[in-house]
């Protein structure tokens, strides 16, 4: 698959301005945000392939509503909100799709050192995938992307206190699962 060369990944870049409805701006938003959206989805979903599918689904949904987006809100926060909804929806359908996904993965040639294999070997990641999606999303937005609780609250459309509660519950659950308490 052809790819677009990008500068090295940096967490939480300075906010860029976009014009709603502009296809060129949406393409720029895609290139600026894709890796972070994918990172979030990989944390929420079971494998990289599914996360990539959901990332594309996220941008398709976002593009359909792009003309309605309001610049007052962060475009990337808006994308994260859509991505988390896509991930939650995918989790619901996960069991139904397991058989088809297995066939598709068997059909893919092994690309050598697959970075997603690291995630599959990580106890922490395996534990995170068992968290409720909203808790896992809060965790990755806070501890990987570096968003504040207020920014997460704005992205997810929930009160800041809810974010704090989700983070506390997620950390408590992980500590229990990993035997750190």
């Amino acid at each position: 698959m052809a790819s677009i060369e990008e500068p090295p990944f940096e967490a939480k870049p300075p906010a860029e301005s976009y014009e709603p409805g502009s296809e060129a701006d949406f393409e720029r938003l895609y290139r600026n945000s894709y890796r972070r959206i994918l990172g979030t989805l990989i944390t929420l979903l079971r494998d990289r392939t599914t996360a990539e599918d959901c990332a594309q689904e996220t941008y398709e949904r976002a593009f359909r509503r792009w003309k309605d987006w309001r610049p007052e809100a962060s475009a990337e926060a808006w994308l994260h909100r859509i991505a988390i909804n896509v991930a939650i929806s995918d989790r619901r359908h996960q069991r139904l799709r397991q058989a088809g996904e297995l066939v598709r993965r068997l059909g893919r040639p092994a690309p050598g050192s697959d970075p997603s294999a690291v995630a599959e070997r990580s106890d922490l990641f395996q534990a995170m995938k068992k968290l409720p999606a909203k808790q896992a999303a809060a965790l990755v937005l806070r501890h990987y992307h570096g968003y504040s609780n207020r920014e997460i609250a704005a992205a997810l459309g929930v009160p800041e206190q809810t974010v704090a509660s989700r983070l506390a519950a997620a950390r408590q659950h992980l500590q229990a699962v990993l035997g750190r308490r």
């Binding site: 677009i4 890796r35 970075p115 995630a119």
Partner: protein
Amino acid sequence: MSDIERDFQKELEDELHRVLDPMSAMPIPPRRSAGKRIAARTVLGGAGAALTIKLLTGVAVAAAAVTVAGAATTGSINPAVWGQQVSQYVADCKAKLADGQHGIGDCVSDFSNQHGQGVASDARHQGSGSGSTNGHGNNSNANDHAKNKNRGPQTKGVSNQHDPTDPAVHATVTVSPQP
């Protein structure tokens, strides 16, 4: 926040970066076009699917109708069969003519009537469906077979068959002698 809690958060962040950073550094694929998927959905799903099915069904029905009509007309799926039968029968009629006798119209007319009645009978059977009854528990096909027994092998289940010599319907055809 306790030291344990702080250490755990640090570990959490380190682990997230260790796992996600290599994946995030991979090339960005081209954005999937929603337009193509929408176009495909239009053709393959919803009203598009219904229209496609109707069109395919129409083509299939038309093809079947042509095949059935051809078979009913010629007695065979191959349209050349009836023509060959006629040619053969005309040749036979000519061969049966005695010396000095002219005209094979009666002979050909007899064959034509047999074929026409056979096609009509087949069409009636196809129209009523195989094994249909007449409301009295009698199978119409069986009735036709019974009539055929009384009429001999060349009169195939008809009641209004013309006499081969009926001049009002079949004019005599004169064929010039072969060189």
